[in-house]
Symmetry: C2
Amino acid sequence: MRATVIHAPRDIRSETLPDPVVRAPHEAVVRVLAACVCGSDLWPYRGENPVDEPHGIGHEHVGVVEEVGADVRAVSVGDVVVAPFTWSCGRCAHCLAGVHTSCVVGGVFGGEHGAQAELVRVPQADGTLVVVPGHDAASPPDGDLLRDLLACSDVMGTGWHAARSAGVREGSTVVVVGDGAVGLCGVLSAVQQGAARVVVMSRHADRQALAVRFGATDVVAERGEDGEQAVLGLTDGVGADAVLECVGTEGSMTTAFAVARPGATVGFVGVPHGATPPVRRMFRHNVGLAGGIAPVRAYLPDLLHRVLAGSISPGAVFDRELPLAEAAQAYDLMDRREAVKVLLRP
Amino acid sequence: MRATVIHAPRDIRSETLPDPVVRAPHEAVVRVLAACVCGSDLWPYRGENPVDEPHGIGHEHVGVVEEVGADVRAVSVGDVVVAPFTWSCGRCAHCLAGVHTSCVVGGVFGGEHGAQAELVRVPQADGTLVVVPGHDAASPPDGDLLRDLLACSDVMGTGWHAARSAGVREGSTVVVVGDGAVGLCGVLSAVQQGAARVVVMSRHADRQALAVRFGATDVVAERGEDGEQAVLGLTDGVGADAVLECVGTEGSMTTAFAVARPGATVGFVGVPHGATPPVRRMFRHNVGLAGGIAPVRAYLPDLLHRVLAGSISPGAVFDRELPLAEAAQAYDLMDRREAVKVLLRP
C-alpha cells in the first residue's frame, strides 16, 4: 500500500509499505477514504519535536472496514467508520469516565498505525471505530459529508473538548485564541453549546471569514497586549466567561488568561510547547485551567449525529485537497500557512 | 483599643492603637467577639513573605456592629455579624458572579483593617458582613457556636471552595492534601457535598482524629511518592475523582496531581509558594486546576445556615484559645505546630 513516512524534519515521503493485516483478535483493518494533515503533524515537520527514525505519520481517517479480528463485534466488513485520533478499549475505568485518551491499552495513531495511508490497522476496533449509518462500501460518503466526517476525527472533537472544558454554557461570552482548524472548530462548538457571543482572535482574512461563517460575533486581529486590551474593551473590562486556548504557546496561554474574567476557565487543547500556566494569577482571580488531549471518542456519536442532521459542517476547515501521493506538498502548504488544513485522498 | 501588630518576622506585639471610626458612608465598625490566627499569617511570621513596615494583622472575625456609615442598610448597630476575610461591594460584575475576591473595590482584612483587634473598620459593610440571626449585643454567641461562626470567616469557606472547585459531587472519591485547618474543613466540605469516600493525607495523630470526626474514611500518613502510591492503592490504581490541594507548596501540588485520576480536577486554595502546575501531565491526562483565593462571602449565608442548623461544626479546628493580648503566643504555638488554630478573645 501507499503510505506517508516522515524521515526527518521537512522530509515527508510517499512510500510503498506492506499491507497491514489483522494481527490480534481486537483489531480491524480500514481502507482509507480520506485522511489529512494536522497542525500537530507540523511539530515534527518543523523539527520542534524530534524525529528519531523514519516512521508512518497521520492520525485522522475515515474509511471502510476491510478486515476484522475474531473478537470484533461492533463493526463489520464494509461498514463506513470514523476513527478518533486515538484508540481505546471502551471498557476500562478511564474510557467509562469518558477520558478515552487515558485508556489503559490506548494509543495514538501514527507510526505503524499511520493514517496518511491507503490502509490502517486499528487496535481495539470495538472501542475505537464509530459506524456512519446509511453508508457502506458500495455507497461511501463523499464531498461535503466526507469532509465533515473527517473533521470529526480530530479537529472538531478537539474544538468541542476545548469548549466543554472551558465550561461554555447558554449565554456565555467566549474568546477563542487561535484560528487554526481547531480554533475554528472551537468557534463552531461554542456556538453549538449555547454561547451568545464568540470573539475569535485571528489575523488572517480567510480564517476570519470562516470563523464568522461558523458563528463568531467579533473578530480581534491584534495580538499580545493589544489583542488582550481589545477583548477587554469588547467585554466592558470584565473579560470572557470561557476561553478556548487552541495554540499551546507561551504567548497564547498568556493571552488566554489575560482575557478570562475572574471565575472563568481556560479550556486548553493546544499541545503545550513552552506554555506555562500563570499560577499566581490563576489563584488571585480564580481562573481555572482544564482540558488537554481531546477524548474525541467520547464526543464522536454526538458529533456524527450533528453532521448527519446538518447542524454542523466542520469540513469547511479543509481548504485544499490533494492525492495521498502528494502528502509532502500538503505539509508544505500548511507549514507556509497557505492552507488551513489539507485533505488527502488515497 | 488593643490590636495586634507585626513588626518583623517572629515579632508580633499587642499594642494600643486609636479606636477606628467610620470614615466613609459605606463603612462600619465592628467590636470583635472573637478573632484568630490563620495559616497564611504564618507566611510573614516566618519571613517567607516580606514585612516592609509594622502593620496590623489578622483577617478573621466575628463581632457586634458598633457604628455604621450613612449608606449602610444591610446591617445595624447591635447586629452580630460574621465577616469573610475580604471585603466586597456585592454589586459589581465580579461580586454578582460570585467571585467577591475580585471585587473592583475589594480588599483583604489586615493592615489598617487588622482583625486581631478589639475593633475593626469594615469597608463596604453592606456587601461584606453577614448577620447572624437570633443573636445581638445583649445575647452574643459563645462557646461552640462562636467557634463555628468564626471558622466560617475563612477556613470553612476556603475548604468549601476547594471542594466546589474540585467538582466534588454525590458519590465522589476525594483526596485532601493538607491537614491544617483548611484541609480539615475541606474534609468536612467534601462530605457535605456528597463524597462517598474522603482520603485525608495527614501525619499527625490529633489531626487525623479530627479528620475522621469530620467524616474522612481513610487516612494516608505517608508523604511524597509513598503517599501517592498509598492513595493509588486505595483507588484500584485509578486515582481520585476530585483532589483538594490545601497547602500551596511544590510538594503538595505534585502529590495532588499524582493522585488525581484522568479527567479529575485539583481544587487549590493554598496560597502558591513555589507550586507549579505540571502542565504536560495536566494535558496528557486531562486533569484540571481550579480554585484560588476563596470568595467566602459567596458561601457564607449557606455555611451559617448549616452551622445554625447543626449540620456542621467546623469550630472544632480551634484547639486553643488565648486572650487577644497574648497573640504572640498564639503565633508561636501554631508555628511550632502545637496548635492547629488558635482563637483570640478581646
